[in-house]
Symmetry: C2
Subunit: 138 residues, 2 copies
DNA sequence: GTAAGCCTTGACGCCGACGTCAAGGCAAGG
DNA sequence: CCTTGCCTTGACGTCGGCGTCAAGGCTTAC
């Protein structure tokens, strides 16, 4: 199949596939007219890349998976190098999530404080009764 | 004080302050020689911006806080517009954290599966006894 | 006098993963 | 023959928040 069809089947664009090729991932055969041609193996390879990209992996981080598939292994993560990337990514994600949770907590505190200091209530709530409803949220 | 001193006191660089000025935040007076001059209010304003930037706010999102301070309010978040930014940010962070946790879980699962499918154990563990240790981790 | 150290504006560089446009080739259908 | 729709390469644009360099002005210290 040619580049347009492969792109569509993988839910991406020809430009993206050419970009991957320029980065050394996803090489292509050529027809006599110079058109790139791909087979089902290339589709699987591309799907592997896209899956990892959707996870937020950088392109370079997908390379071990690609190499692994190219080496004939059943899956992109059937190689130690790929698993090492998994591990690094999990650690990175844990760290990032932790940071974001800390920021979220901080901003949450500032929000509550700022709301409390505002003269008028933040939004029409609470001021209806006397002290009911204080632990509910919508 | 001039730009270098302000930058240092805020833990940033002159380039950054000029950039903020180009974006319409943090305006400066000028000496006869054309040098930018700042006062303590400018420092507070800049600190507000830096704090939010460290939280991951985009520059545009700091604008309501700056406007609020400029309007003479005691804090950058003493205005409804700033509080609205807080709220949007909290929601955005919650969404992002949720996404990252989902990705983390997915990658974690793939990692365990890939490790299990590897011929040799992932790291020297588990294979010592027969079936002990199966729920421990390092 | 001149070197050091501050400042000015202007403009290009960077990063990642492409989008978009330009100019042109090839094949099929009417 | 001509249009349509694929494809090709090349090259510049995007976004955010600056870094870095160039060329030059001002002031102070030696």
């Amino acid at each position: 199949m040619r580049i347009g069809e492969l792109a569509e089947r993988a839910g991406t664009t020809p430009r993206t596939l050419r970009y991957y090729e320029s980065r050394g991932l996803l090489t292509a055969r050529r027809t006599e007219q110079g058109y790139r041609t791909y087979d089902e193996d290339d589709l699987r390879l591309l799907q592997q890349i896209r899956t990892l990209q959707d996870f937020g992996f950088e392109l370079e981080e997908t390379r071990p998976f690609v190499d692994c598939l190219r080496a004939g292994h059943p899956a992109g993560d059937s190689c130690p190098a790929s698993i090492a990337v998994y591990r690094r990514k999990v650690a990175e994600l844990d760290g990032l999530i932790g940071q974001l949770q800390a920021v979220r907590a901080q901003v949450g505190v500032e929000l509550l404080r700022a709301e409390a200091e505002l003269p008028h209530g933040p939004e029409p709530r609470c001021e209806l009764g006397t002290e009911r409803d204080t632990e509910r949220e919508g």
